[in-house]
Amino acid sequence: MTAFATHFGYEFRTGIRNRGLLLLNYLFPLAFYLMLGFVMTAINPLFRDALLPAMVIFAIYTAAILGLPDPLVQAREAGIFRSYHINGVPRANLLLIPALTTALHLVIVAVIIAVTAPLLFDAPTPVNWLNFVLVFAATLLACAGLGVLIGVVSPNSRSTILFSQLLFLPSMLIGGLMLPYSMLPPIARMAAQLLPSTHAMNAFKGLAMGQTADFSPWGSLLVLLSGGLLAFALATLLFRWDSHHSQRRLPAAAALLALAPYVIGLLVFGR
């Protein structure tokens, strides 16, 4: 077995073995999905149309935005990266493998939601499964990139929570999961366009669910893909093996460049 596969296997098991990660990868998103499925569909039957994509996006957010960063911060601060560095673990593996194992956990969660949502809540299934997978992958790339970037630039666990919540909470409020984008006031729409969840929801609606997109769904897909790639590139550039005596190639504020595709998306596709 290659070193990459051995490392991947260990990280995947950690995602289940570690209680915090188990909570964020599986328990929290699935419990929230069941709760919303039972409560929201009873209050507002129209929510059924958004249930499947919204809950998949929510799962991606909890695992990637809330779950991915802190283990990276802790590993750097506890000298684990130094230990890996000495033993020849490439920096790319330290960023890529947690993101890929999180992706695998999320595939499992997404399958559970996709299978049970029509059965339990009479939620509509995608009309284009291929596009569903494509948007799922793009959303995952965008969120995992941002999660890894937060983990790389955050100086400690407390800051990690702050940075993650700065992305998570607005996405929950105005990112199209609970409240449709079309119902937002104009200023909130502009802010919403800076969030991956807005683009993910728009792309799911327009490309996979057979619904009317609020703005260009292919544009949203492009924003998600470019945002994800840029975030990973910045994370690689800003990565430090330890926080003592090591210099970054760029200042930490350069992480804000990861928002560039969303700003461009707002200028090009926003309305």
């Binding site: 070193a3 490392h7 950690t14 283990p71 506890a78 230990s83 000495i86 093996w241 005596h245």
Partner: protein, 307 residues
């Protein structure tokens, strides 16, 4: 000395305005256990980190098995093993997983036998945070030697360990030395350095203040040798015999204790006195100044100079 496996020449390292290492030079022979001693901030860890390729020196030449640690890390990692001061392992990893992971990156078969050898047989599937400090340290050592490195760097390997674990680790270090592994041992523990190291260098404020075998280093000090003598009738306890080369004398329990600057003359005079008194000798102990005594002497001298 054989051709050096480690060469350090005029090595300097600064962190901002702080000079961590100020132009040190030394060589380490293959198969040698070389101790780096010094108080906190002396430059030990910086020296190790530069030799391990974790940091780049500001000036000077470093070679490990002929490899420049700064520019050829890939070659370096196959010849060195490192046990860091902090164990640095993920909390949920098991010893078995850690062994598989590290060996996979080194491209060698996992050495689970080392885990058994180091008393981790019953803990191979326990998570890292469930291991005691001693077990974590032993795991770190097993991982450091799993790919059979030619040079092993140990940073405070026995700090905080119980006596039994310490003895086991020392036994393993001797075995590795016997197999030809060169060991660089950074420690605060003078007794450990004196027991294990073939040669030691004492660093202070980024400079080597002395280097040599523990015996050579202790011999160069001004320390007095302690001579303790016990006789059947206690003839030496009663009166203060004037003895040659004795700077100070005292009694404790049934022993007469002398601090001598010339062991031969003092011991001869003592034996003559005991024979003259027809007092049977029960016990005679000679304790030369320890490395710790010499270290404290050097530290005090350095502090004095600094004032």
């Amino acid at each position: 000395m054989n051709a050096s496996i480690i060469t350090v020449r005029d090595f300097r390292k600064r962190y901002g305005g702080l000079t961590a290492v100020d132009g040190i030079s030394f060589d380490v022979a293959p198969g040698e256990i070389f101790g780096l001693l010094g108080p906190n901030g002396a430059g030990k860890t910086t020296t190790l980190e530069c030799l391990e390729g974790l940091r780049a020196p500001d000036a000077g030449t470093l070679r490990v098995a002929g490899i420049d640690p700064t520019h050829d890390r890939r070659a370096l990692r196959s010849v060195i093993g490192v046990q860091l001061q902090s164990s640095g392992m993920p909390e949920s990893i098991t010893p078995d997983e850690a062994m598989r992971l590290f060996c996979a990156y080194h491209g060698v078969a996992p050495r689970h036998d080392l885990l058994d050898r180091l008393g981790l047989a019953g803990k191979r599937r326990a998570q890292f945070h469930e291991l005691s400090a001693g077990q974590q340290r032993r795991l770190a050592l097993a991982l450091a030697v799993a790919h059979s490195p030619r040079v092993l760097f140990l940073d405070e390997p026995t700090a905080g360990l119980d006596v039994q674990t310490r003895v086991e680790l020392h036994a393993l270090m001797r075995e590795l030395k016997g197999d030809g592994t060169t060991i660089i041992l950074a420690t605060h523990d003078m007794a450990e350095a004196e027991e294990m190291a073939d040669r030691v260098a004492i660093l202070m404020q980024g400079r080597i203040v002395t280097i040599g075998t523990p015996i050579q280093i202790t011999a160069t000090g001004a320390g007095l040798t302690k001579i303790s003598i016990q006789t059947a009738n206690g003839s030496l306890l009663a009166n203060g015999h004037p003895l040659p080369a004795v700077a100070q004398q005292t009694t404790r329990d049934s022993y007469a204790i002398y601090y001598s600057s010339d062991i031969g003359r003092t011991v001869n005079a003592l034996l003559e006195a005991v024979n003259a008194a027809a007092d049977p000798l029960i016990d005679l102990r000679v304790e030369r100044p320890s490395l710790e005594d010499r270290f404290l002497e050097l530290t005090d001298a350095r502090s004095g100079n600094g004032r």
